[in-house]
């Protein structure tokens, strides 16, 4: 509901701008193609959209006299609907760029269309390695992360900190395997041993009892896991419930202890070690301002998804500034993304022209007990993590 009101405010601001005589030009249109209803990513889609709208509004909502209009498109987490929504946005609404999607399941449908239509596609979340790897394309820019980028640094880091034997567990789907494969590669290269790997079917029920029992039998130093959303909360709580927390470290990409999950996890989340491209505790002026603005509006901390949305907004705005608000030549718009550098919520951000993937800082952090409430403590910042080409031939 907040979002509708916020949208109305943005629209009102946009109208006021439009009414001003100096800015009679056509608006710049950004078409969102997100999972606003249906599927497991509804909440994340709204986080990204809210963050993006907030960034554009913070920047004044216009570039060189052209107002920026955001058009919502709901892809319902279905590839066919995502495709027809992309067509509607490009051919019906004449958007200057597409922003989508959350899940890697629908991204390929949008990607193929954007490439064929020569329309910039900005990916604000989906982490499939191939989008900026073997399937990379001039027209597709990713402002979020690749699965490999998130987990790669954690292998050597854990070995350095005395973790030698690790159990892997993730759902049996592309992202789960990419995260585990990326970690296994660097972890074993650094001298670590994988004691067992389990890939439960994706859904229908996240009862991890059988898997946790098996992990316990293998006596690992740590469990490296990739879960997000409701299963993440289930896993963290059951990990404590089965008594693994006492002797085994729980670690993995930080989504497992996302600020969205922390209230439902409570103190069971304490001790979890995460690595991610964002954590609310990042102590920079940009992030502090983002968090205070977000919390004033939504009465809870902004998640990594809201931060990615916000940073996506900043990057889009910077690219539009670089072209002086001109969007007729879409190729120039893409090239503008390659040249800009922004100070985002996540630190310094650039788009790598070699892969079109983002170059960003990664954060290793632990959940700590702060006066009876779980809270984040950043242990280490790994600056400017850049993906190798991974089969991408843009460079």
């Amino acid at each position: 509901m907040n979002r509708a009101r916020y949208g109305a405010a943005v629209a009102a601001a946009t109208l006021l701008f439009a009414a001003a005589p100096a800015s009679a030009a056509d608006p710049i249109k950004i078409g969102l193609n997100l999972e606003f209803s249906g599927g497991p990513y509804v909440l994340l889609a709204h986080e990204v959209a809210n963050g993006l709208a907030m960034a554009i509004a913070d920047k004044g909502g216009a570039v060189d006299g052209r107002t920026i209009t955001i058009i919502d498109g709901d892809n319902q987490h279905k590839p066919d609907i995502a495709l027809s929504m992309a067509k509607k946005l490009v051919y019906g609404d004449h958007v200057d760029m597409l922003v989508g999607s959350i899940g890697s399941g629908v991204i390929k449908a949008i990607r193929d269309f954007a490439v064929a239509a020569k329309t910039p596609l900005i990916v604000p979340n989906a982490g499939d390695n191939e989008i900026t790897g073997v399937d990379c394309n001039f027209w597709v820019i990713r402002t979020s992360f690749s699965n490999d980028q998130i987990v790669r640094e954690m292998g050597p880091w854990l070995v350095k900190h005395g973790v030698k034997r690790v159990s892997l567990i993730a759902f049996d789907y592309a992202a789960g395997h990419q995260q585990m494969d990326g970690f296994r590669r660097t972890f074993t290269a650094a001298g670590g041993t994988i004691v067992n790997e389990q890939y439960p079917p994706f859904g229908p029920i996240s009862d991890f009892g059988p898997y946790l029992t098996k992990i316990k039998e293998a006596h690992p130093d740590a469990v490296f896991t990739f879960f997000a959303g409701p299963p993440a909360t289930a896993f963290v709580k059951q990990f404590t419930e089965f008594g693994l927390k006492k002797s085994i470290k729980l670690t993995g990409p930080g989504w497992i202890v996302s600020p969205l999950n922390l209230p439902s996890q409570g103190l069971d989340a304490v001790g979890v070690l995460g690595i991610l491209n964002y954590v609310p505790a990042i102590d920079t002026p940009t992030n502090r301002r983002f968090q205070s603005e977000f919390q004033a509006k939504y009465h809870r901390p902004g998640s990594e998804f809201a931060a990615q949305g916000y940073d996506t907004g900043l990057l889009i705005y910077a690219a539009l500034e670089a072209t002086h608000g001109k969007t007729a030549n879409k190729g120039d718009l893409i090239r503008a993304f390659h040249d800009v550098k922004v100070d985002g919520t996540r630190g310094e951000l650039r788009i790598d022209p070699q892969t079109n993937n983002i170059i960003q800082d990664l954060y290793i952090y632990e959940v700590v007990d702060q006066g009876g409430k779980p809270s984040f403590h950043v242990i280490e910042t790994i600056p400017q993590v850049q993906d190798p080409p991974n089969g991408c031939k843009l460079g």
Partner: protein, 289 residues
Amino acid sequence: MDFAGFILQLLNGLQFAMLLFLLAVGLSIVFGLMNFINLAHGTLYMVGAFIGYSVAGYWGSYWLALVAGTAAAALAGALFYATLLRRMQTASPMKQVLVTFGLIFVGIDAVRLVWGDNTQSIVTPSLLGGGIEIFGENYPIYRLFIIGLGLATALLLYIGLERTRLGAMVRAGVDDREMATSLGLNVDLAFFIVFCLGCGLAGMAGVVAAPVLQIYPGMDIAVLIPALIVVVIGGPGRLGGAFLGALLIGITATFGDVLIPTFASFIIYGVMVVVLVLRPGGLLAPRHR
């Protein structure tokens, strides 16, 4: 897997089975007794969980949440019976499926509107927190509680159906509805009570599952398929069938996950196929009507 591991996995399986039983028994009764396919049964499971979550958050009591979640789902069931089910009972199965399938989405969006989209949880009551040593391994007490609750519910339902007047009326109504009615039995009332009871059990399952499986919009769809499989395997309308079906699915799914992970997502369907080939009417097929 050593012996201790086997016992622990068996407990995991039993616990999953009991959750499935609580959910499937109501579905099975409605399916068998009223000849009505209520796909929205999972919605009551979700409603029970969310009401329980709010009550637990406000009053801080798990037990109050359990009662409130059960009562809320029973009440929602009564409302559903009064407004839609009476009308739909004589409709074709396809219409019943479409209406109750639609209700699933209405339910999810209604829950989203009230409670938002985030994951919620109910904290395990302190009485049942922590673990207990079983063969040298720590096993969560709460999961033993789920097993106990499922077994106790099954026993109570058995006594209720076989040993009470209401149970006799229900059995008579199932065997020959017209004859029972003409003998002066209020079969509609008996079915109504049983229907609300089944809905209440679904709500109870929602609260009981919450500390383990968590609460979120769409949690109902996650459990609907295994619950339907239990009903089909057990034979619609059979209390014992729902119990056996839940045991079979819960335990094979658990051991399947651990022993043959490659086929984990297939295994419950595989069990269903085998059962239906050998016994097309389910393990305990309904008596001939």
